[in-house]
Symmetry: C2
Subunit: 120 residues, 2 copies
């Protein structure tokens, strides 16, 4: 079971989001995960622990190797939570679009007819 | 521009997620937002400030009213970030399904053919 509190808190960090992006491509060892980062391996391990405690990733045991992998069901739950009212916030998007379009139409100057004769 | 750090941190709280769910249904005043909660209106206002600082909601000025509303583009950005590797984590889901199916097939006893003659 994932915790929404812990999961969203875990994602509130750019390094941890980058780790999630890396693991979305497939499982990886701590060494592989740490490689592109300029921070120490123990610091990466601490970030991995936060992600694992939140239920977003898990450790697989394979001999002496401990590859980490994403838990797709956890990602799916967060995605579904954000998406549950998508129809509603997309409707607000479209309403905003309509208002902006109306405003831009109002701002357009009425085309001037050069044949028009002005009486003042 | 939304901050992913601040947005995900803002959502790491059950009251703030409930406020987002309320506002997904349409804009509301602080009084309306506070009504279903057993916490004080100043506490709700503090939660609203966290959500507004994160760029997830905004305040509309209408006479003396200050209704809050969700910023759909911010919700959309978070949803898209979570969904960007969806094909990848869904593939992992299906791989897991396939493994589970294979395991359950292995556990199923081979149907016994009563016409079969055993020679021992």
């Amino acid at each position: 079971m994932i915790s929404f509190d812990q999961s969203f808190a875990a994602l509130a960090d750019p390094t941890r989001r980058a780790i999630v992006e890396r693991l979305a491509e497939g499982e990886a060892t701590v060494q592989e995960i740490a490689r592109p980062f300029s921070i120490s391996q123990p610091a990466i391990s601490r970030h991995l622990k936060v992600l694992e405690d939140a239920g977003l990733i898990e450790t697989r045991v394979e001999g002496s190797a401990r590859p980490r992998r994403l838990k797709p069901e956890a990602m799916g739950m967060l995605w579904n939570w954000l998406g549950q009212y998508r129809a509603l916030w997309e409707a607000q998007f479209h309403k905003l679009d309509a208002v902006l379009e109306e405003l831009s139409n109002e701002e357009q100057p009425v085309p001037h007819d050069p044949r028009e004769v002005h009486h003042e």
